[in-house]
Amino acid sequence: MGYKMMFSEITPYFIDFLKGLEISLIISIVGMLFGSFIGLLAAFGKTSSVYIINLPVNIYVEIFRNSPLLIQMYLLYFGLAQFNIQIPALTVAIIALILNNGAYTAVIFQTGINAVRKEQHEAAYALGMTYFQTIRYIVLPQAFRIVIPPLTNQFISIFLFSSVASTIAVSELTYTTMNLEAITLRSFEIFIIAGTLYLIVTTAISFLSRVYENSFKY
């Protein structure tokens, strides 16, 4: 009474896995890039002493950090459709990932910026640098070094969470995997392959990040 594994039944579909992986990578990279940009701006917004900037940014960050990505995607996709606002699935996935990522990276950047010691600001002031010059030449380079590990984590997290987009039928890796499972009924083989593909990419990301970190260790 055994279950024979038949990977041979899956091999014709391997191209589909790779196509799905390509879409997963694209939406994760776009989400990460634009999300980090928003996150950086939001980090400055959060630390600002101007109430009009501070409050909305904080509300945005709290909402998108503290609710599940799935709910965010469903709200944008099905929820808005009730008010006759139709957004295509791929766009919804990317927007949701960007907003979600923006909230998380805002906190990461905020920590990084605060970690640069006050003495650096005082020294820059003493040298006669303006606020923006301080930020650009002193604070950001140091903060950047600090935030690389958490940002890597965040990128891996975004990549893995892109699988949530499968529920709104974006043709990424998990969506393709579920469809192939329904066609071939070979659950174990299919999911092992999908899991391995995710693992390969995340391992590559961690490795590259570590190489990059080491390149500017003093």
């Binding site: 009474m1 996709y77 099905f78 529920t167 039928a169 969506y175 579920m178 329904a182 009924l185």
Partner: protein, 282 residues
């Protein structure tokens, strides 16, 4: 690597702690072997014996597929399949544990022994029959198209070309639509409820599902209408795991009796407004 001579000697000679550890390890291994053989021995019981011994049959049903299986306002399961499942429990004289499964997970839940039988509007296609076993049929059904009442473009499945259709993964629509209408834009969602929401929120132009479910929806809600005739009609049977001949025999006998006694027709007329399609093959 330097070798710690003192430690090495101690290891080779052995001391009281070593003996105690060894004893504990042997005990753990024996416990594991015992549990595994007990588990293996328990596997030897077939499903019918297990169901009777545990006084419980786990039936996989659909929970978002009125009128086959759905939750009523009080949160309880109701429907044609639910009535048949409860009748099965009476026949076996055991409790019925209704387990909601997603359309795509019906076959998988049998293979992985999460349920004992699937009574969830399951069509005994030749493809599925390679992985699980099916009983004799207890109903029949064909795929039907539901559109908004003011829709003029779609009159039959041929008109689905170029349209977006959201279907649930793992159902007969998933199996037949891609070959019948290759130019249709088919979007696969995780659950039947999602595909219905997608249709009602105009993400898809039509809903394609089994006729009895579609007629039920249209009767309930006049915003929608049915177009065309049912196509790709098929039977509906119970699904069971492979290598369970005794269980399969029992269920076939149960269904034969249910049909002969007329009870199945009673259930049918309670839930479906039209006459049962003949299940005779000739």
């Amino acid at each position: 690597m330097l070798i710690d001579k003192h430690r090495l000697k101690k290891k080779l000679k052995g001391d009281m702690t070593m003996k105690k550890n060894l004893g504990l390890n042997i005990l753990i291994v024996l416990l594991l072997v015992f549990t595994l053989t007990a588990a293996a021995a328990a596997q030897e019981q077939d499903i019918l014996e297990k169901v009777i011994a545990n006084k419980k049959v786990r039936v996989g049903i659909l929970a978002d597929y009125a009128p086959w299986g759905y939750r009523n306002a009080q949160g309880q399961y109701e429907g044609f399949d639910v009535d048949v499942a409860n009748r099965l429990g009476e026949a076996l004289e055991v409790d019925v544990d209704l387990v909601p499964v997603e359309s795509a997970a019906r076959v998988g839940s049998l293979v992985s022994e999460k349920v004992d039988v699937i009574i969830a509007c399951l069509t005994p296609t030749d493809g599925r029959a390679k992985t699980i076993n099916f009983t004799i049929p207890y109903a029949s059904n064909g795929l039907t198209i539901m559109v908004w009442a003011d829709n003029k473009d779609i009159k039959s499945y041929h008109d689905l070309a170029g349209k977006t259709i959201a279907i649930v993964r793992g159902g007969t629509a998933d199996m037949y639509l891609p070959e019948l209408v290759p130019e249709a834009n088919i979007v696969r969602l995780d659950s039947i409820a999602d595909s219905v929401v997608a249709f009602k929120s105009k993400k898809s132009d039509a809903l394609v599902e089994e006729e009895l479910m579609v007629y039920y929806e249209v009767d309930k809600d006049s915003r929608f209408k049915v177009v065309g005739e049912p196509f790709k009609s098929g039977l509906i049977s119970f699904g069971v795991k492979k290598h369970e001949q005794e269980w399969l025999n029992y269920l076939n006998n149960f269904l034969t009796n249910l049909r002969f006694s007329g009870e199945l027709d009673v259930f049918y007329e309670k839930w479906f407004k039209h006459k049962p399609a003949s299940l005779a093959i000739d």
